[in-house]
């Protein structure tokens, strides 16, 4: 007997509305293009070009040989939390109880996601700079929150302004999310400007989520950890990791440092969804904290040389670039060519085989810019600049 059409259920999409509404990655098509081309110099990566220092790898390899392949505590290995607590104390004079205020996560990415899911109710607003790292607005949206973008610009060194933040505060605002040193701009925030933001947060009872994954990669300036500002430790969720400073991107180890209530909330989600960060990554992270300082200093020195070459080179070819003081990105303007970020990126790739990332992938205020990563050997940077000079010469607006 045929099933009555009256009772046939209307076909639904198998995916959730939330996911369907998420903006897709702005770089997928370039990835596919590059895969089909030979001889591309890529300034489009977002990770170090160094392998993890050998002593860190060796510690993990040895642990595998000894059979350390099991789960760890949800919060992370006690030794790692102890070392991390010591590190934060030595570096910032911040005291976090390793038992209740530190959570080891699978990369800072997971820490960011947990933070949103642990703190946001549906419709809660989170204020953040534009442009910014693509995951920020996505994680807020996935946690049923609403990202609120605050424009930044090179005239102000891409620092987000406290006044602009305050202008966006509503009764639905839950938190401010910042990440300095920043991806994609390479911008850093001065202590004074951070203090102004802290005041806004305190005035309105807001949380601040501070993604400080690039904290060690600063050049000629000192990084200010937001949680060190007066009165901010309790209301700051400090996110950090090992990916950029220790070249441990693939190990997937990060952390969140926050007051016990927030840490417990994040742990609740973490224990159901991830259980624990990978043990071999955690063991490597212990070694990194104990003995990795020289390696970090060497890498930072090398990044700095490349930074100077990259920024000078971009300015010399007419792509005006404010001086980035952190991370490993330069964010030059391509407005002199009259092209959009995507057009510039695609043409540069096809005509000169240089891959960059369009600034528009990072937000509306990224339109008219490109992101150039200098985590690549100097020879690549010089060759890329030479090709870009030729490209700009051909396409410069009269």
């Amino acid at each position: 007997m045929a099933i009555s059409t009256r009772h046939r259920r209307k076909r639904q999409s198998p995916t959730s509305q939330q996911v369907r509404q998420l903006r897709p990655s702005g770089i997928r098509k370039y990835f596919d293009l590059i895969a089909s081309m030979e001889g591309v110099i890529t300034l489009g990566v977002g990770e170090p070009d160094f392998a993890t220092p050998w002593h860190i790898r060796e510690a993990a390899i040895y642990s595998l040989e000894k059979g350390y392949t099991m789960y760890t505590s949800n919060l992370g290995m006690p030794e790692l939390r102890q070392e991390l607590s010591r590190y934060l104390k030595d570096t910032y004079n911040l005291t976090y109880d390793p038992a209740t205020e530190l959570l080891i996560t699978t990369g800072v990415s997971e820490a960011l996601d947990l933070t949103m899911r642990a703190t946001l109710d549906p419709g809660d607003e989170v204020i953040m700079p534009d442009p910014c790292y693509v995951s920020y607005s996505a994680c807020v949206a996935l946690a049923t929150g609403k990202p609120v973008m605050v424009p930044t610009d090179p005239e102000n060194n891409f620092e987000i302004s406290a006044a602009d933040i305050e202008a966006q505060v509503t009764d639905k605002t839950k938190a401010i999310l910042i990440g300095y040193p920043a991806n994609p701009t390479g911008a850093v925030m001065t202590r004074d400007k951070l203090a102004e933001i802290a005041e806004v947060a305190q005035r309105h009872g807001l949380l601040i989520i501070s993604d400080e994954i690039y904290a060690r990669l600063v050049y000629g300036v000192e990084h200010t950890c937001l949680a060190t500002l007066p009165g901010m430790r309790e209301s700051t969720i400090l996110l950090g990791g090992f990916s950029k400073a220790y070249a441990m991107t693939g190990w997937r180890i990060g952390y969140a440092a926050a007051n016990p209530e927030i840490t417990a909330a994040m742990t609740k989600i973490h224990q159901y969804t991830m259980l624990c960060a990978p043990i071999m990554g955690q063991i490597a992270a212990v070694e990194a904290l104990r003995s990795g300082e020289n390696s970090v200093a060497e890498m930072v020195e090398e990044y700095n040389r490349r930074r100077l070459v990259m920024v000078k080179g971009l300015n010399d070819i007419g792509l005006s670039c404010f001086e980035p003081r952190g991370a490993f990105y330069a964010f030059p303007s391509i407005k002199s060519t009259g092209m959009s970020s995507e057009e510039f990126t695609e043409k540069l790739l096809l005509e000169e085989k240089v891959a960059v990332v369009p600034g528009s992938a990072f937000g509306q205020c990224g339109e008219g810019f490109i992101r150039c990563c200098y985590a690549t050997p100097l020879a690549n940077i010089e060759e890329a600049l030479s090709r870009m000079k030729r490209f700009v010469g051909k396409h410069k607006r009269a």
């Binding site: 990770e47 040389r305 080179g313």
Partner: protein, 160 residues
């Protein structure tokens, strides 16, 4: 500034003045001046290239030689070391702590040549009490550079 320039040149002696100027945010003329002075006062002793001679079939024999000496009154080890390092076969000479006194890296075309250097020139040198010669069988790493090609590990070409 001098140290920054020296670090760059030690890593790659072919780095041009213009490149160093960009890397250190210093005018090229200033960089050139600093380098010239460093060459003059022998802070920069030499610009060197590390060659893997095995790849061109040009065989060399390397030996590390432990040398025990009797230090001389008033001058210590220096005059004996000087007599040794004046031999062109002695590529490197260090004064070291431990069970012997001088470590000499000798290079020759053949094992025979190196052995002759040790027996006829090095061992009979006044003040030398004894030598132990270790022939280098394989060079893995030289001056911070791995000689056997390391496998290039590719990254994803674009990541956010």
């Amino acid at each position: 500034m001098l140290k920054d320039i020296l670090k760059i040149l030690e890593k790659d002696a072919r780095t041009t003045t213009k490149q160093i100027a960009a890397m250190t945010n210093t005018p090229a003329t200033e960089v050139a001046g600093i380098i010239k002075q460093a060459e003059k006062d022998k802070t920069i002793v030499k610009y060197k290239t590390i060659i893997n001679w095995d790849k061109v079939g040009n065989e060399q024999v390397w030996a590390l030689i432990e040398v025990k000496v009797s230090p001389q009154r008033d001058v210590g080890f220096d005059s004996i070391a000087e007599r040794i390092y004046r031999f062109k076969e002695a590529r490197t000479v260090y004064l070291v702590s431990g069970t012997y006194d001088l470590l000499v890296l000798a290079v020759g075309k053949t094992m025979h040549e190196v052995a002759n250097f040790v027996s006829q020139k090095l061992a009979p040198t006044e003040g030398v009490n004894g030598t132990v010669t270790h022939f280098v069988l394989k060079r893995y790493k030289e001056d911070g550079e791995i000689l056997e090609g390391e496998e290039e590990v590719k990254r994803q070409p674009v990541t956010l």
